[in-house]
Subunit: 134 residues, 2 copies
């Protein structure tokens, strides 16, 4: 399995935890260190494991977790760090997200997430994700 | 000079290039590789050196470059990669930005920028920036 595939799996796992409201999985997907950060759309930034994970507990415990699809994920790797850009396509809005990963105990774990309002992607290109996951 | 100070200087240089409409400086601040990316507020993501730098040429050549202040910059370093989070405070709106840097020829250069609408920062904390720049 190439590193790109591993990173796309980690990115998929992040969104599965989100969509399944699985706070245990979400907690495990974040790197186990305090210098993690998160910027939810329309929020101030959150720094530190406590603030980041508490925000996800709040979001995942909401009864109104909206349905969305993740589209167009692309990966760039810079030695020990990887950046995934993808679109979170909801019924009425679209967000563009950056998810940054590092390796920790040979697993790719998230250190930073920023998601913000975006036009729908002009070209939905899932080619890379589809090719690598086959 | 510690790595954090070098990164804060690189972040300051990025915003000086922006505020001075200096496309030459802006071009030099981005890593000289094609796997760079940029998400301007309300835009789709841009991948690749051509698209990213063309977008900055468009922005910097506008006669209506707005005034803004950069506040609350904080840095986290992950070996060869660094993430700076800061606020871009305009007269009427506030953006929160993530600027990701890697080392290239012993310089910290940008590989990714995402800026998006944010409430004003609850606590403007320039302590780290002020302390490190003194």
């Amino acid at each position: 399995m190439t590193e790109k595939i591993k990173i796309l799996f980690a990115n998929d796992a992040f969104y599965l935890a989100f969509q399944n409201s699985d706070i245990g999985a979400m907690t495990n997907l974040w790197a186990n260190r305090d210098d993690i950060s998160c910027i939810h759309p329309g929020w101030n930034h959150l720094s530190g494991r406590d603030l980041v994970l508490t925000s996800w507990e709040e979001i995942l415990s909401s009864k109104n977790t909206p349905n969305f699809e993740v589209r167009g994920a692309s990966v760039n790797i810079y030695k020990n760090t990887a950046i995934v850009i993808c679109y979170e396509v909801f019924e009425k809005i679209c967000l563009v997200a950056t998810n940054t990963f590092i390796t920790e105990n040979n697993e790719w774990r998230i250190i930073h997430h920023q998601s913000s309002a975006s036009p729908p992607p002009e070209i939905i290109d899932d080619t890379e994700a589809i090719k690598t996951l086959q």
